[in-house]
Symmetry: C2
Subunit: 558 residues, 2 copies
């Protein structure tokens, strides 16, 4: 194979008109709303018309805890989708949209890598079909209407100290984290301290990604708690009167985006909530639409399985009535070695002992996933320096865990490299062996839900939370929010809350620093450790290198 970079491969892609890609899923050109020739939204009318179809099989791709070596979760999602198409199945992939802001800090990212990518790459890293801009507008309209309500007399009695709704921007701008607005005297309103988050951290993003349809979207937007009165009574977005206008702003954004893989197979790329303070999966409407149109839908969840898959199962599947038929757990030999204590610089050398040592992290994820009643296949995402002995060590270890590991070479070979994985995944999915159930019931208390995740998934001994936090949880239960699932925000690098604790730690505690109610999204966010919701730019931001070359191509974005 050639040794081209991801961007070179993406630029050389032989893209087909998006109408041809839609046709593979039975979508007429009339029902595709094109954005250029290689992107389209699937019309709401069409989505309504296929609700009677039988659902396809749902495959979740998740991963071990990420290491700097990389695991290739999206690459494997795309490769598996192409592999299923290769073996004659009608398959689609569903992944998240990228945030624009961070592309100007660190480099932007491909959707996948090597010969397992989704294109068009540049557009997907920039404005794409405008979904995130619509979310920014809807969020900030609500913010403006809150301050406007107070300006004109504050009929609702909002306590200005207790406004919890901030503003958002899709930009890495640390100067906006903590601001005072409303300076300048009477015509500009009442001064107060607030701040901006990055758009992907907006509750509107989480809502768009969990809403079943436009009606559900509007209801959830209305349910957002924006502030409290002096008497601690919640003020909802509905009270402000913003829910209708926000829905109008999000009307087009609710329609899922269709693009294609390098092998011209359909890919839905829609929504992109934070994977810590939100649930980190592509939109429910993209997944449910794909299931109505394809026989196999391959999707992914953010971070490692302890965060991403847990939220996919306990939040997204619970809320949307989804049930995965098979889970693919991605691992790399290099990541096993890093978990086994090898430094990044030394990853090129064979080290079977380190692989064996590092497999503990993989093993725990396998065990965790089985608790949800789903069959697990490990995909070893092959890297050129992996040796046969190292790969065999992973396979042997996985067998001891009652699962199976399959070597995949989609990065170098495209779908040819995932034929074996695709064949096995299809067998498992068709077998009906999956007996999915969420990890906890709705009627546990909020604190018990946290404990359930901490002990069953993180394998911690205990959850630490001070009286203020426990009281807050109880107060929300009394207010009728006790049935909500919890959304854990912790480091993605470890099962514990200490990012340096690799492998499969035990005996640790999970300290809860803060809890937040996302009443519109429908979960309680549990923050364990420092969570940054507005990134900054680095000393040498990528933006300095980004520009158009003489051929009008974008340089420096990747």
């Amino acid at each position: 194979m050639s040794h081209k970079s991801d961007i070179e491969i993406a630029r050389d892609a032989s893209k087909r008109p998006i109408q041809e890609i839609g046709a593979k899923l039975g979508i007429d050109a009339d029902h595709l709303l094109p954005y250029g020739h290689d992107k389209a939204k699937v019309s709401q009318d069409f989505i309504n018309s296929v609700q009677g179809n039988t659902d396809g099989k749902l495959i979740l791709v998740t991963a071990i805890n990420p290491t700097p070596a990389g695991e290739g979760k999206t690459t494997t999602t795309v490769g598996l989708g192409d592999g299923l198409n290769r073996i004659g199945k009608r398959a689609a992939v569903c992944i998240r949209e990228a945030s624009l802001g961070p592309c100007f800090g660190m480099k932007g990212g491909a959707a996948g890598g090597g010969y397992a990518q989704v294109v068009p790459m540049e557009e997907m890293n920039l404005h794409f079909t405008g979904d995130f801009h619509a979310i920014t507008s809807a969020h900030n309209l609500l913010s403006a209407m809150i301050d406007n309500h107070i300006y004109w007399g504050n009929e609702l009695g909002i306590d200005e100290r207790r406004i919890v709704w901030r503003r958002v921007m899709d930009m890495n701008d640390r100067a906006l984290r903590d601001v005072v607005v409303g300076l300048g005297g009477v015509p500009n309103g009442f001064s107060r301290q607030t701040g901006f988050d990055i758009t992907v951290a907006s509750e509107v993003m989480a809502i768009l990604c969990l809403a079943r349809d436009l009606g559900d979207l509007e209801k959830r937007l209305g349910d957002i708690i924006v502030a409290y009165t002096r008497e601690r009574e919640p003020i909802y977005a509905r009270d402000i009167g913003a829910d209708g206008a926000m829905t109008v702003l999000l009307k087009d954004a609710m329609q899922p985006n269709l693009v294609q893989t390098l092998e011209n197979n359909p890919a839905f790329v829609h929504g992109g909530p934070f994977a810590n303070i939100a649930h980190g999966c592509n939109s429910v409407i993209a997944t449910t639409t794909a299931l109505k149109l394809a026989d196999y839908v391959v999707t992914e969840a953010g971070f490692g399985a302890d965060l991403g898959a847990e939220k996919f199962m306990n939040i997204k599947c619970r809320k949307a009535g989804l049930a995965p038929d098979c889970v693919v757990l991605v691992a790399t030999v290099r990541a096993m070695k890093m978990n086994g204590g090898v430094a990044k610089a030394d990853l090129g050398a064979e080290n079977v002992d380190a692989v064996n040592e590092g497999c503990a992290n993989l093993g725990r994820h396998i065990g965790n996933l089985k608790q949800f009643g789903v069959p697990v296949v490990v995909a070893i995402n092959h890297f050129v320096t992996d040796t046969d002995a190292e790969v065999q060590a992973v396979k042997d270890y996985v067998a001891t865990q009652g699962s199976e590991a399959i070597l995949c070479q989609h990065w170098a070979k495209g779908s040819e490299g995932t034929e074996e994985l695709a064949t096995r995944v299809a067998e498992i999915a068709e077998s009906g062996v999956s007996q999915f159930a969420p990890l906890y019931r709705d009627d546990l208390s909020l604190f018990e839900k946290i404990e359930r995740i901490a002990t069953a998934i993180y394998r911690a001994d205990e959850v630490l939370a001070d009286k203020k936090i426990r009281d807050q949880l109880r107060q929300w239960e009394e207010a009728g929010f006790g049935h909500l699932p919890v959304c854990m925000a912790k480091t993605q690098y470890s099962f514990s809350t200490d990012p340096n604790l690799r492998g499969a730690p035990t005996g640790h505690s999970v300290p809860v620093r803060e809890v937040r109610l996302s009443a519109g999204a429908g979960f309680v966010v549990v923050i364990c450790g420092e969570i940054m919701t507005m990134p900054g730019l680095p000393r040498k931001p990528a933006a300095l290198e980004i520009g158009l070359n003489d051929m009008g191509q974008i340089e420096g974005l990747f």
Copy 2:
């Protein structure tokens, strides 16, 4: 005729696929980048390929000073475009895009009215093709990079008190007018006072609308002055290293948008700079592209002719090498009556004397426009209550001013109502009688340019400016900006700076309150009176009524 509202007429439109509209101008479907089925961008490649074509004729539509009665400038632009097509000419209209934010304050607006509209109306009032979102992103990336530069050591020596680049949002949000950013200690940077403007007030908007091509766009973005050092040396966007990345963000937005009139004729809708602190016209690239493709291009300028046409001639035409072949000055009988002292409630009753009285405003605009060497036709935009005697009074008056007035009924009848106007405009344009020249030469001093406009257009006796302002202008001349045109920001309701002074006032003074250098856009803004660059929401914002109805249609936006 029926008595349907603008939105009802727009919803009933028989739209043709945008590819058919493009074909009328010789644009292949391959060169149209569709956004849904009724909007498209014209590809940069195609634009490059038609540069050898002969230019069509350019018609500017402008108006008397606006009154609450309305004059119908965009309606007439659209009606004239349709009228020219009706009489067998290949014509296109070029108008501005609407800003999203204000639609949630007061009602959003149609592009045109009655049977002279551009569609799709809803999309054009909301996200459209994302141009304004791209401008917001590009503007705010520069803002973030300025604070980031200071955060990491301030190598350029930016004086934090002299940062002149603010942030923007496409939202009416008065709380953001005046803010302090960078609170929260070391990780969030240095605290300083700044603010947000609405996106249409961004210099990036003005630049996008004046740039000839992507290369010119990048150069102008680099030329933006963002701050000064302690020694008062300017710091440019180029010094911050943001120009390349901003160009990448604006790459798609630079391509003009093609939509259609109700009569399925081509309409370019592209760019929308403020008409006070900027030049208030659609993009140069839309106009120049339309001229390469159509035999007649009908475009408009913001506000009345004293502001809009003056800037169209002295800024846009000067910079882009354009020359109008004919100017259409829109007037209504109702507006004449208001200028003649009639209250809005009494406009329904015939009042020929008031019409005669109010014609002074019209007459001065005719005289002003002739100073640019262009032939002027007055279009009387007919309203149902106008009487024959009133219409005749306007015609008679215009004849005394060495021009001609033509009654138009496009609002009620579409192109049938502008046949006479279109025929006459085509005759004049073809006659080659226009001898366009800007009002002042580049080599006048900045203050002389202000005086030239104030005396020749506003008919003021003098310009008042204190020493600080005169010194600032001289300083910019010494720094090499003396050749720039001036961009006047004053009330649109009067020739003077007093909005209540209707008709054709004389003997007034023009006080200059502030001057600003838009070095990227390439003009010096001269502010006479209070100019608001971030609107607020009213007590009962339109957003309260906006929502989707049971059929999924947008209600309350209009």
